[in-house]
Each structure stands twice: as C-alpha cells, then as structure tokens.
Symmetry: C2
Subunit: 302 residues, 2 copies
Amino acid sequence: MNTPCFNIAAVERETGLSKDVLRMWERRYGFPVPERDGHGERSYSIAQVERLRLVKRLMDQGHRPGKLLAMPEEELLALAPRRPSSEGSAAFPDTSDLEEALALIKRHDSQGFLQAMQQRLARDGLMHFVQDTVAPLTRRVGDAWEDGDFAVFEEHLYTELTKRVLRQALAALPPGRRTPRVLLTSLPDEPHMLGLLMVEALLSLEGAECIPLGTEMPLLDLVRACEAHRADVVALSFSSVFPLRQIGEALRQLRQALPAGVVIWAGGAGMLRAQPLEGVQTLTDLAMLPSALNDWRLAHSA
Amino acid sequence: MNTPCFNIAAVERETGLSKDVLRMWERRYGFPVPERDGHGERSYSIAQVERLRLVKRLMDQGHRPGKLLAMPEEELLALAPRRPSSEGSAAFPDTSDLEEALALIKRHDSQGFLQAMQQRLARDGLMHFVQDTVAPLTRRVGDAWEDGDFAVFEEHLYTELTKRVLRQALAALPPGRRTPRVLLTSLPDEPHMLGLLMVEALLSLEGAECIPLGTEMPLLDLVRACEAHRADVVALSFSSVFPLRQIGEALRQLRQALPAGVVIWAGGAGMLRAQPLEGVQTLTDLAMLPSALNDWRLAHSA
DNA sequence: CGTCCTATTTGTCCAGGACAAAACGTCAAG
DNA sequence: CTTGACGTTTTGTCCTGGACAAATAGGACG
C-alpha cells in the first residue's frame, strides 16, 4: 500500500478528534477501522482522515455522529451544504459588499482583500468598521466553513489578514492612562483571536485601558496576571467551537479564584448556549459592551 | 477541603502534560496522587498543579522526570534558576539595551515597551531590528521563562506586543507581485508566531511574496493551500517546545505529499536537534535566509 | 404548543499491560 | 582528554475493554 499513513496522534491533530473518541467510534460504529502497522498500532489512510474531517464538519452543523458514521459515502456528501446560501445573510443591508470581500479571500487575493478592508476602515471609522464589517464578515466566514465553501487555510488567511488590519488601527489610537483596566484573553483550547481584537478596538475607543494577553492563558496564570496588572475587568472570549462543558466549570473556578472586586466579562458565540452564572457578566453581542462599560463606571465613580 | 480542584483534563490544559503522562507518573513515581471525587475520578489540588508546572519547567531545562518527582519540595525549588544570569547574554554587544526592554515587560509597562520597540525599529530599520532586537530578545524571554523569571502571562504580553510592532512594520512595506511565493505557517501543536513574522519581515525586504497563514495548519490543508496559492516555497517554524519526535515524521510526510517543485524550508530552535532530511532545507538561523533565497532564485532563473 | 419524563446516545474517564525510542552511563580506542 | 560504540534504564505513547454521567431525542401529557 503506497498511501501515506497517519498514526492516531496525527489523526487527532488533523481532525481535532481525540484519540479516545477515535477508538470509541471504531469500537461502537465500526468506522474508521484503520490498518495496523508492524507494532499493532493504528494506521489511518488519507481517505479515512478526509472522511473524518467531513464528519467533524457536519457534526459542527448539528448532525449526530451515530447517524453520520452509519451513512455511505455518497449520502454524506449530499448533506454537505446545509445552509441556504442566500437566507441568513439577507438580514444585512450591505451583504453584497461583504460577499465581495469574501470572494477576494476565496480567490486568494491577499493584496486586494487588505485594500478593500483598509478602504472600508477609512470610510466608516474604526467603530463602524468593527461592527458592520469585521463582525458580520467573521460570522460569514464561520458559516462558509461549516458549509464546506471555505477550507481551513482560507479561514486562516482571512483571520491573519484581518488581525493585521485591526492591530494597525489599534496602534494608531492615542495612548494614555485610562480606566477601567481590562485584561483581554481566552482560556486554553480557545485559539480564536479576532473576537478579542474587536472588543479591544471598541473598548479602546471608549477610553478603556486594554491589556492584550493573546489567547490560551492557563487559569492560574490568568489570576496572577490579574494581580500583576491590577486589572479591574477580565474579558474572556469563547467561540462556538469551545467545548460547552468546560465553560461553566472554568468560569466558576475563575470567579472563585479572582478577588470579588474584579469583574468578569464573558463573550463570544460560545456564550449563547451557556447558562448565566453568578458573578460573571455574559456579553453575547458586541453591542452590549458600551453599557457594560457604563455600568462599571457608574459603580466605581463613587 | 475548601481548595478548588482540577479534573485531569483541566490539569492537562494548565500544565501541558497529557492525561496518559499524568496517570503514568502517578503509577510509577507516586506523584501526583490526587484525591478522588464522588465518581472515583481524579481531582488535583492547586498545590499539586503548581508543583507539576514547576516540574514541567525544570524538564524543559533538561532535568529528568524520574529524579524531579522523587525530590522533596525544597530541593526542587533550589534547582529553579539554572542558568547563570549574566553568562549567556554577554555575547551580545548591546545586552543592556535588551535587558531594559525585558525590564519594561517585567514591570508590565506595555506603553513603555511599545515605545522602546518602535524607537529601535525607527533607528535601526526593519532588517536590523529583526536581527539584533527581536530575535535575541525572544531568545532571552524564552530563557527567562525557563529560569522562572518570567511567568506565562509575561511571555504572552511580550509576544502580543511584539507581534503588533512587526505587523505594523510589515504593513508599511510596499506591495507588489514578487517571487518566490512563500507560504508561511506552522504545523498543529506549534502555536508560536514570532519566528514566522521575523522570517516574513526579512523575506519581504528581499522582495519575496509572503503568504501568511497563521499557525497550526493541518498537513492536508497545507498541501491544499500550496496548490491554491501556487506557492514556490513552504516555510515552517518549529520552536524548541515542539515534540522532537513529530518533526521528522511530519516533514517526511509533507515532502511526500507536496509536488517535487515546491521547496520546503524548516526553521526555528526545534530544528537544531532534528536530523537533516532529504528534500527539506533546514534553516537554523535567520542569517541563513538570504542565501536560501538566492539559491532558489539561481535555480529558477534559467 | 409547551413541559416534563424516560430512553438512548455519546464523550470522557479508569485500570493495567506492552513496547520502542531516547537518554544515560560505561568502556575501549584514538 | 576526547570520541565513538554498545548495553541498560528511563520514559512516553499506544493498546484493550469496561464504566458512567451528561447531553440529546422522542414521547406522553397538560
């Protein structure tokens, strides 16, 4: 067999499915059943890995593994585009503009995309740029990925280029000592940065002091960072990919570990499905930021 | 017991030690032995997690787990600062300047650090800035972390701020169609971005067309990205944290999957320990980039 | 149509065993 | 004193097969 083969750890990296899950699926559903190498270890073919990636994507759309893994190949492919391509996005007035930007990424035209974004930024100003361009565009990219219209590398390119535009805009803002001091980051297993940058942009415009700590900060380090920076607020981002199970537990633990005077803001698509929690403010939309900021200022002006 | 507790998955996230390793250490070395919760599942105390983090750090310095886990607490702490703090860095002429920038991070003075970096960038130009400031500073930050002088959140802050400076400088470079087309990224489990940005800066200055795809690109997506962007070169970064075992296997697989006409450049501290591989060019130092670029141009000018 | 309850699905955890690759130490030769 | 070959120990990853709780679907009932 000349097909290159993946061991179970490589499949975990390629698909994001844990080794435990891969073995369990094999035991329970009879797929994937990999070859074994000389040492009796699993060795997956490229075709199996590709199919697993498809299954994973369909699961993110809401399908259940038990059904998917029992299906023959053709039926699986027929499921691929779930979302009616014109419906969800019709709510936005300037959809055609967004689709244009999307098409530039799809055409792999980095320069063109950067230019288009810079132009919109200059035209609308940072606040509207974030609210009306970056936020909906990021949602569209997520949808396109779920529908199979975007590959991982296209999503990565979009993310990387957009981060640059936002960071550039942020650097142009005037510095200075502001309040409150907001620590921006995410917990381990949450690598998405764009949401944090959007929040940083809006908060900076409103005169808050943002301390960007990147993504994937372990809980104990987050607590120490909070002390060291004398932060007033900790803002965390949870994307829809973040395992729902962990959110509640992590936030509870964090709330317990942080001083009561420190406010926790939790935002991102992942928070839509999470239950509200005492001592943690849930911000499901960027539009909720200004009022949260006002609340803090009112409570601390006395 | 009022101490908040971590389940085994949380410990994996906090420490970076896999569940398998945690169970194996418990079985073999008798540490850590966690409590059990109502369902018989492991529940680690904060003290155990802190100690595991210390052990992990000492292992990254070259100590062996068998010894470390047998030691009493005090002895472990005595090991902490291994590196003579003044020796390794004495090789650089302007060490004091670097230490100053480091001190700004240590003092959590983001504004001051950004200013210092911007100033050096303006003074030296992008090329010398990368070679004489960013590269050695990043190494120093890595060393400081190994010595316990830097916390994770301080390293994250350094990384985040420095990324901004570099990206800003990159955005200021003139665009245009250049050759070769270089795809920049890293494989899954390698989240470090700074090395890639340094490479991008130097290559862009030399007139190459850089396609930044961020970090952690699955192998199969990398192959597809390469086709889609008609890349001439794929440049990969491996930090010293990247599991050595994977490097050879992944590069071999990638080499097989990519067309022969596509050159692979592999760089970063992780490549210092890796064996050379047919069809993959190893670049252990930024200074090797220009000649690699020249080689490509000579080979493709005919 | 909404709410409660039950059955099924599904992911994560556990124990304990096996083994190969890496690291170490030893010894001999240059 | 350094270098290289070789046996031993250490160490991480993989394996099997079992258990269980949380999430979800499906159905009954108000």
